[in-house]
C-alpha cells in the first residue's frame, strides 16, 4: 500500500545516490551499503543531462554516471540487480520519463519501472500543474508520485499539491538546489508548520549533512530525512582518491548509520516534547 509504510514506525532515513556513480558495479555496492546502514527508502537518481535542480555535488555525480554509460534501460537493469529489501524511488527529470519507449508520454516508463520494482517517483522539474499524465500512469500501475514542497510554496499551490502527492511529501529545507549545508534553516520549521495537517509522511531534504542535523530536523517534526549530497560527497571523494569500492561502501554504511541514529534521537526528543 505505498511508501507511507516506510514511515510508519519510526522516522525514516531516505538516502539518495545517483545510480551508476561512478560506475555500474561500484554503485550497486554503494546502494546495498546504504540499505545495510538502515535506509528505509532509497531514492535512486536516473541521471539526466540537464539537472537544473541539482547543486554541483549531484550534478557531478550525474556526469560521472552518464560518462560510465548509464541510460534508462541500464537503470532498470540496475534496479533489478540490486539486492536490497527497501522500497526504491526513482528520481529523475521529466524528459527521460516522457521519451521512454514511444516518446509519446510517461506510461511506458512507469510500466517498466513498476515491472522492475520501483515504487515511486520524484521528478524535480514536474510541478503539479504539468503532472496529470504521470499521475495517471502512476495510479494505473500503483506507484507513488512524490511532490516537493518548497519554502516558497504557499496558498493555492500548497492545497493542490496536497491533493496530488502520495507516498510521502518531500519538504525542501531551504531555497536553492541540492547540496550539503552546515546549518538548519528556519524555513524548514515554517514549511513543516504549513503542512502540519497533511496526512502523508513529511520527509525533509536539501542540505542535511550529519547525524546532528538529522536529529534537529526530526525533532522539528519531520517524519523522515532525505540525504543526498552528503552521501554523494563520499562517493566522489572515494572516486577521486581511487579508493577500493568496498572501503567506500563501508564509509557510506557508516554515514548512513550516523544519519539514521540522529533521526532516531530526534524522534525521541519529539516524543518527549509532545509528552511534556
Amino acid at each position: 500500500m505505498g511508501l507511507e509504510r516506510a514511515f510508519a514506525d519510526e522516522p525514516a532515513f531516505v538516502p539518495y545516490l545517483a545510480a551508476g556513480d561512478p560506475d555500474y558495479d561500484a554503485s550497486i555496492e554503494y546502494v546495498e551499503a546504504l540499505a545495510r546502514g538502515g535506509a528505509d527508502v532509497i531514492e535512486l537518481g536516473l541521471p539526466f543531462s540537464e539537472p537544473i535542480a541539482e547543486g554541483s555535488t549531484i550534478q557531478e555525480a550525474v556526469v560521472r554516471s552518464l560518462d560510465a554509460g548509464m541510460s534508462p534501460d541500464r537503470f532498470f537493469e540496475f534496479v533489478e540487480e540490486l539486492d536490497v529489501d527497501v522500497p526504491l524511488v526513482c528520481m529523475t527529470y521529466y524528459n527521460l520519463i516522457y521519451q521512454y519507449g514511444s516518446g509519446q508520454g510517461p506510461e511506458p516508463f512507469v510500466e517498466k519501472a513498476a515491472e522492475v520494482g520501483i515504487e515511486g517517483f520524484v521528478v524535480p522539474d514536474l510541478p503539479a500543474e504539468e503532472a496529470g499524465p504521470l499521475r495517471a500512469a502512476c495510479d494505473e500501475y500503483g506507484l507513488d508520485l512524490i511532490f516537493i514542497v518548497a519554502p516558497t510554496t504557499k496558498g493555492d499551490r500548497l492545497a493542490s499539491m496536497m491533493d496530488q502527492t502520495s507516498g510521502y511529501v518531500y519538504v525542501q529545507a531551504r531555497l536553492g538546489v541540492t547540496g550539503a549545508k552546515d546549518d538548519v534553516d528556519d524555513a524548514t520549521e515554517e514549511s513543516l508548520a504549513r503542512i502540519a495537517e497533511w496526512d502523508v509522511p513529511k520527509a525533509v531534504g536539501f542540505g542535511i549533512k550529519t547525524g546532528d542535523h538529522a536529529e534537529r530536523i526530526v525533532s522539528a517534526g519531520a517524519d523522515g530525512i532525505i540525504v543526498g549530497s552528503a552521501l554523494v560527497d563520499i562517493v566522489a571523494e572515494g572516486h577521486e582518491n581511487g579508493d577500493p569500492a568496498d572501503e567506500v561502501a563501508e564509509r557510506l554504511e557508516g554515514k548512513a548509520r550516523e544519519l539514521k541514529a540522529g533521526a532516531l534521537r530526534g524522534a525521541e526528543q519529539q516524543a518527549t516534547a509532545e509528552g511534556s
Binding site: 539537472p51 535542480a53 516558497t152 510554496t153 531555497l175
Partner: protein
C-alpha cells in the same frame, strides 16, 4: 498581446517547485505591466527603447542583393540597435519589468555573449546589479563580449560543468534563481524557458515586426511575400514574424543552423547542427515542452553551429507550434553557406552581419541565388524555390563579435568569396 502559457501542446512550466511562485509572480507582472500597460510600463519601455536603444530602426532596400536575386530584398536593421543585436529589445524590457516588480538583482545566462552584453547594458542603464552566467568555453571564445559585460560592471560567473556552453549556463542560472528567487529576476535571453517567458520575450521582440510591417507597407504599398529570420532560441525570429502571423499570404521562414551536417552521432550524443525545428522532436528542456535535439533516451544532445548564438539544442515552443501548424517553414543552412553569405553581405551591402544572421542570407542565396554546379547537385527545396517579389530579411545583429571566428573558419575552408587576409601575415601578429 496575450499571455499564452501553452502554444498547442508546447510550452508549459517544467521547473522546480521553488521557482513556481516566482513564475506566478512574473506572470502576474507580465499581465499587468506588459499586457495592460499598468503604471505606463509599456510607455516607459518604448521611450527607453527609442532613446537608449535607437528605435525605430530602418527597413532598408538592399540594392545589390535585390539585383542579384531579382527580387526586392529589404533588410530589417536590428544590427543597429544599441549593443549590436536585437537582444536589447528583450533585455531592456525584462530589466525594466524587474524594476517595476521591486526586484533588486538581475541574473542572466549567455552563450555567444550577445544576450549577456545586452542585459549588462540594460542593467547599467537602469542601475541594477547584474550577474551573468557563461560557460567557460564560451568565455574563452567570446572574449570581446566578456570584456563588454565586465566594463558595464556586470559580474561574469564562469560555468565549468559539461562542455561549458549555453546549455550549462542556462541550467546554472536556473540554479541561482532557485536560491535567490525572492530578490532576483532571471532575464532569459530567448523565447524559451517556462511560461511566461516565451510569450513575454516575444512581446518585447515583436517591435521588430510591428515596425517592419508598417515600413514595408509604406515603402511598397503592400505586404511582403516572405519574411526570413535565423532561429536559435527563436527570439529574433518570432520578433520578426509576430505581426505577420495573421497575414496568411506572407510566408515565414525560420532558418536554423545546419552546422556541418544534419545527421547525428547517437553514440556520442552529438548533433553537428542546431536544427531542432527541422530535425528535433518533442521533449522537455529548460522549463518548456518544445522541439529538441535529443537521443532516443531523451538525453539532450550537444548541438553545434559555427555561430555560437544558434548553438542550442532547443527552440521556442511558439515556433515549434507554428511549424506544426504549417504557418512557419523551418529550413536550415550549413556552416559553409552561412560563411559565404556572411562575406556576400559584407562585400555587397557594406553590412557585416552576425554569423547567426548570415544563416538567413544563406537561405536566400540557396533559393534565389544564381545556379552553380554545387547547387545543381543539391536540388532546391521543392516547395519554396520562389520566395516571391518582396522579401524581408531580419538582420538580427552585427558581426563585430564574430570577426576572429570568421577569419579562422574561412581560412579552414578556402571559400572563393573570402577576401585575402594576407595583410595580417605581412604586418605580423598572427590571427
Amino acid at each position: 498581446m496575450s499571455s499564452e502559457s501553452k502554444f498547442g501542446d508546447y510550452g508549459g512550466q517544467f521547473v522546480p517547485e521553488a521557482l513556481m511562485p516566482a513564475i506566478e509572480e512574473l506572470t502576474d507582472a507580465y499581465e499587468r505591466y506588459v499586457i495592460d500597460n499598468e503604471d505606463g510600463f509599456m510607455d516607459e519601455f518604448r521611450r527607453r527603447l527609442a532613446e537608449f536603444g535607437g528605435r525605430p530602426l530602418p527597413l532598408q532596400r538592399a540594392d545589390q542583393l535585390s539585383a542579384r536575386y531579382d527580387t526586392e530584398v529589404y533588410l530589417k536593421r536590428e544590427d543597429l540597435l544599441h549593443g549590436g543585436a536585437h537582444k536589447l529589445n528583450n533585455a531592456l524590457g525584462q530589466v525594466l519589468l524587474a524594476k517595476y516588480m521591486g526586484k533588486e538583482r538581475i541574473i542572466a545566462e549567455t552563450g555567444a555573449g550577445q544576450h549577456g552584453t545586452a542585459t549588462a547594458m540594460a542593467a547599467a542603464h537602469l542601475d541594477m546589479p547584474c550577474e551573468i552566467y557563461m560557460g567557460e568555453t564560451d568565455i574563452a571564445r567570446q572574449r570581446p563580449n566578456v570584456f563588454r559585460m565586465r566594463i558595464n560592471d556586470a559580474e561574469v560567473n564562469p560555468v565549468t560543468t559539461g562542455r561549458g556552453t549555453l546549455k550549462e549556463a542556462i541550467s546554472e542560472t536556473m540554479r541561482d534563481w532557485a536560491t535567490t528567487v525572492e530578490t532576483t529576476h532571471y532575464v532569459i535571453g530567448s523565447i524559451v524557458g517556462p511560461a511566461p517567458f516565451p510569450a513575454m520575450v516575444r512581446d518585447f521582440q515583436s517591435v521588430i515586426s510591428e515596425e517592419a510591417r508598417e515600413q514595408i507597407v509604406e515603402k511598397t504599398g503592400g505586404l511582403p511575400d516572405a519574411v526570413l529570420a535565423c532561429a536559435g532560441g527563436g527570439s529574433n525570429t518570432m520578433g520578426a514574424f509576430h505581426h505577420f502571423v495573421p497575414d496568411d499570404d506572407v510566408d515565414l521562414y525560420a532558418v536554423e543552423a545546419g552546422g556541418s551536417s544534419l545527421s547525428v552521432d547517437e553514440e556520442e550524443g552529438v548533433a553537428p547542427n542546431s536544427a531542432s525545428l527541422s530535425t528535433g522532436d518533442e521533449g522537455v528542456l529548460h522549463g518548456a515542452r518544445t522541439k529538441l535535439l535529443q537521443d532516443s533516451d531523451g538525453q539532450i544532445m550537444e548541438s553545434h553551429s559555427v555561430s555560437a548564438g544558434l548553438d542550442y539544442a532547443g527552440v521556442g515552443p511558439e515556433l515549434a507550434h507554428l511549424v506544426d501548424e504549417g504557418r512557419v517553414t523551418p529550413v536550415n543552412v550549413d556552416d559553409d553557406t552561412a560563411l559565404e553569405a556572411f562575406h556576400r553581405l559584407s562585400q555587397d551591402e557594406g553590412i557585416i552581419p552576425a554569423l547567426e544572421t548570415a544563416h538567413a542570407f544563406g537561405y536566400l542565396e540557396r533559393v534565389a541565388g544564381p545556379a552553380t554546379d554545387d547547387r545543381a547537385a543539391e536540388p532546391r527545396d521543392e516547395h519554396h524555390d520562389d520566395l516571391g517579389d518582396t522579401v524581408i530579411v531580419n538582420v538580427s545583429g552585427r558581426g563585430d563579435k564574430d570577426l576572429e571566428t570568421v577569419i579562422e573558419e574561412t581560412q579552414k575552408r578556402d571559400l572563393d568569396i573570402a577576401p585575402d587576409m594576407s595583410i595580417f601575415n605581412e604586418i605580423g601578429g598572427g590571427i
